[in-house]
């Protein structure tokens, strides 16, 4: 016997909530970035669970797309963090409150 679809969706929802709280709670840009990755993973889990329970491969294909977006986000996001660190010697998002350098 397998756990039902609702179990996977509940796990996905809990992970998403933890990630969302983390984005609000962290002040470190890298910490916020990691919490965003956590939210993306929570969504991936529900995609795969639906794909399994409806025997449709589309969900897994979209997981693939989400992973590509996450990889782009990692490259560009960490580039922004490094560029910000060069200007401010800090990755605290409170220091990013002005547009002009």
């Amino acid at each position: 016997m397998e756990p039902g679809l609702e179990n996977y969706l509940a796990l996905s929802g809990i992970l998403f909530a933890i990630g969302a709280v983390g984005v609000v709670y962290k002040r470190n840009a890298i910490g916020m970035f990691m919490c965003i990755e956590l939210m993306l993973n929570a969504v991936n889990l529900s995609f795969v669970a639906f794909s399994r329970y409806y025997a449709d491969v589309t969900g897994q294909l979209f997981v693939f797309m989400v992973m590509a977006v996450a990889a782009c986000e990692a490259a560009v996001g960490l580039g922004i963090i490094i560029a910000f660190f060069r200007n401010r010697i800090s990755v605290d998002v409170d220091d990013a409150s002005i547009l002009k350098h």
Partner: protein, 180 residues
């Protein structure tokens, strides 16, 4: 039966690691706990008969993205986040947001529980590498191409963001080019 035990075990590990990711103030500890979440999710994908996605999860997330994150943390030599006394009252708003999201999660749990049980088709080959490849390069070819263009844009963007050249030296170089 085995799947159910494995599910609850892995779900526990995933939630604990996710909580620790948010809890730790040292970004390196957060990153290592996040790797725990990724690996337990990869094993969950295996139990959901999605071996391709499970391997991709390990390769892309635990392998590439987290190595990049740990690399940046070490490169910038980040210290621990200091607790902030200003904005303390805002913790309640964050907690309220989290509670609202959890309530939504359990509403989904309840709503799906109410619907008639869906019988899992264990004979289906959805999730095998073969079926993923077939669908990816026939039915979903356009999204795959768009993702390819997006990856190219991300590479160019990342290189442009971290290059050392300042604006002034770029303009000087352009002027030299026109003069030649």
């Amino acid at each position: 039966m085995v799947t159910t035990v494995l599910f609850f075990l892995l779900a526990g590990v995933a939630i604990a690691c996710a909580g620790l990711t948010v809890y730790y103030r040292n970004p390196l500890y957060s990153a290592l706990s996040l790797i725990g979440v990724f690996i337990s999710l990869a094993v969950l994908y295996l139990t959901l008969a999605a071996p391709f996605i499970a391997i991709t999860q390990i390769l892309v997330y635990a392998g590439a993205i987290m190595v990049l994150v740990v690399f940046v943390i070490m490169l910038l030599n980040l210290d621990e986040e200091r607790p902030l006394n200003r904005l303390k009252h805002l913790y309640f708003i964050g907690g309220g947001l989290g509670a609202a999201m959890l309530a939504q999660a359990f509403f989904i749990f309840y709503a799906v529980l109410k619907t008639p049980k869906h019988v899992v088709d264990t004979e289906s080959n959805a999730g095998s590498t073969m079926s993923i490849g077939t669908h990816m390069y026939t039915e979903y070819l356009l999204p795959v191409e768009i993702v390819g263009v997006m990856l190219l844009m991300a590479i160019i963007g990342a290189v442009m963001l971290v290059r050392k050249d300042t604006h002034a030296s770029l303009e000087a170089a352009a002027e030299k080019e026109t003069n030649d």
